[in-house]
Symmetry: C2
Subunit: 368 residues, 2 copies
DNA sequence: TTGTAAGCGTTATCAT
DNA sequence: ATGATAACGCTTACAA
């Protein structure tokens, strides 16, 4: 009934060799006579041996350093979320000998990214987790990492040119398609949708283009139900300037009924609208469950937030690397996380499952 | 720079006692002189000791048996999903000495539940995971479990009378509210919504009532935008009978524009409609990403599926129990999982993250 | 080519 | 009340 787990010792006895020999065939290191090897392999197969990861980890007694390179959480609260996931993963894996060294760069400053990436390389980590929107800089950074031949995974922004590294995050194109669907459900035909990009054009990179394409493709595939207006604005933090900009847009374009904000800054848009006294009868679709967005979602000022689970991105990113370090599984795979449609009525449930205090995952190691 | 992790040996040396003594104060077992105890505790605090779970697990070398009691996956494919999560969790925790013994009952048969629960008790497990809609039977079962004093968690159906046991699953009431929101977005006012319950009335229990209440409360709070019609039907598997039943309903009630199916059987409804040649210009909201529902969602025959992540329910359920067994953390907490709004445009992303092959979580132990 | 034994950090059983 | 020591299953250096 209660079958005991097969240990190395057991197959050593079965094959009538020593534990050392068994170990040698398992890791095929060292010399072992062909017939002996066959005998051991037969025993492994017939007894159904699988190694005890716990004991292996303890015996290995190795320390691994994973470096992270992400934007300063202070720069944009969005970046606090992956940070939470990274911390969770750290606590979950520290007993496996995993250390995490974090490097932060200024979100809008490529130079800062380059500086930090150099510091990171000097620290000689065993693996790297990266999140950046700087395409060229990321590719240059990858060249350096390639030289020292350690695994690298990206989160949040998919740098498609880097096909040798893993990616965990959202499918940007599909999130645009999904936004299209949400407008389709909510609005009548023959109205206009404003695509609004807030932030530096530097970061107005591929993944933002993908979101726009997704929305426009959806619209094309649905008989061009909507008119699409494309606009971007850098100085969104200056509510006055932003407000004037918006009233200009809305006075020129009087048929706008939907607004698609392509990143986590929807709350700036709503606040600027409010400041200018422009009434908000718009259907607004934004991204990410940062606090200011959540408040406006509850109030009904924002209609939909698309969640890309940044906490999980950070968490899974670290776990993927741990997986590679501990079990040398080499997957440079792309993992697209679900795109959650968040409305006032299901918001709280998403927030709860994101809070670090409630998700007390201790150990979460990928394998086999 | 590279700080070594503090071990029992380290604090033993610091406090100038033996490892045995340190162990005694950590687990406050056995006698230890007050001053010695204070000295050790001081050392633990100042050096910042935390136990190495890996080594502890190995040394403990204990075997735990977790029993599960869920409906037969063959009875209703929905129940394959928690089963997947349970299997994942098993693979993740087997190295921690966790065994899983599964008991299955016939979904619509309380007697079968009772029989299996008796077998389960005889097997003398160390913890139990349960999913059932049979209220009375579940409560009786709990009385037996209470006697042998082992942890019990429920998934999927919240038996509120059992306030001493943990629950992981959906907030049924809130899922009804969310359905209300979805109709609100999709439909004009002054149309009717049909609430359709398919299945035995036995299982037409509290959590189904909660869903209905949620929808109706939403409607009340929005000026009774819709009319609500309540209907249930047992023999939904008989497409002919079901079809006649539906044509009867729809010929009497000609203003129905929305249909809320309260469980995972939305596909039966669509098929019966189709069979009778009733045109589907309805807004349909159902539950759960089982294959037949997914196909209809893609085709546009179902508009929304609310996902309660049954895979994760099974997975988290096991992990919660493992947590209690390994770290004696006693939380009979209620964990409500997010309610995902699934449409054709984000369906694939949810399916991918549910597939057992992609989620290769090895070890996921809760702690601290 | 093979076997032996020490060690990973913790627990638990002995003596003292 | 305290200390020494053998386990747990695996790795690895060293001996044979």
């Amino acid at each position: 009934m209660k079958k005991k787990r097969i240990r190395i010792k057991d197959i050593a006895e079965a094959a009538d060799v020593s534990r050392g020999t068994v170990d040698r065939v398992i890791h095929n290191r060292g010399k072992v006579a062909p017939q002996v090897k066959a005998k051991v392999e037969a025993a492994i197969l017939s007894l159904g041996y699988s190694p005890n990861i716990i004991a292996r980890t303890l015996a290995n007694n190795k320390e691994y350093h994973i470096a992270t390179l992400i934007p300063l959480p202070e720069d944009d609260i969005f970046w606090k979320l992956p940070q939470i996931g990274i911390q969770q993963a750290f606590e979950a894996t520290r007993d496996f000998g995993i250390h995490i060294d974090q490097f932060y760069f200024k979100m809008d400053d490529p130079v800062s990214f380059v500086n930090e990436s150099e510091k990171l390389v000097e620290a000689r980590p065993d693996a790297v987790l990266m999140a950046t929107q700087f395409y060229r800089e990321a590719i240059n950074f990858y060249r350096q990492i390639e030289k020292i031949d350690i695994p690298l995974v990206g989160i949040n922004t998919h740098i498609k040119e880097l096909d040798k590294v893993g990616y965990i995050g959202q499918n940007s194109y599909q999130s645009g398609v999904l936004a299209g669907k949400l407008f389709d459900i909510s609005l009548h035909e023959n109205v206009d949708i404003l695509i609004l990009h807030l932030g530096s054009s530097v970061s107005n990179a591929m993944h933002i283009m993908d979101k726009k394409r997704g929305l426009m493709d959806y619209n094309n595939n649905h008989n061009n139900k909507f008119g699409i207006i494309n606009v971007e604005f850098r100085e969104y933090r200056d509510l006055d300037k932003f407000g004037y900009f918006l009233s200009d847009v809305f006075s020129r374009e009087t048929n706008i009924k939907g607004v698609f904000i392509t990143n986590s800054r929807a709350h700036y848009f709503i606040n600027a609208l409010d400041r200018m006294g422009i009434s908000n009868d718009l259907c607004t679709v934004g991204f990410d469950l940062i606090e200011k967005n959540c408040i406006l979602l509850r109030k009904g000022e924002i209609d939909f937030l698309i969640n890309q689970d940044p906490v999980r991105q950070g968490n899974l990113g670290i776990h993927t690397l741990v997986d590679q370090l501990l079990f040398n599984r080499s997957d440079a795979t792309i993992t697209y996380l679900p795109l959650d449609i968040v409305v006032a009525e299901n918001l709280d449930l998403y927030l709860l499952s994101n809070t670090p205090s409630t998700s007390e995952i201790k150990t979460q190691i990928m394998a086999k």
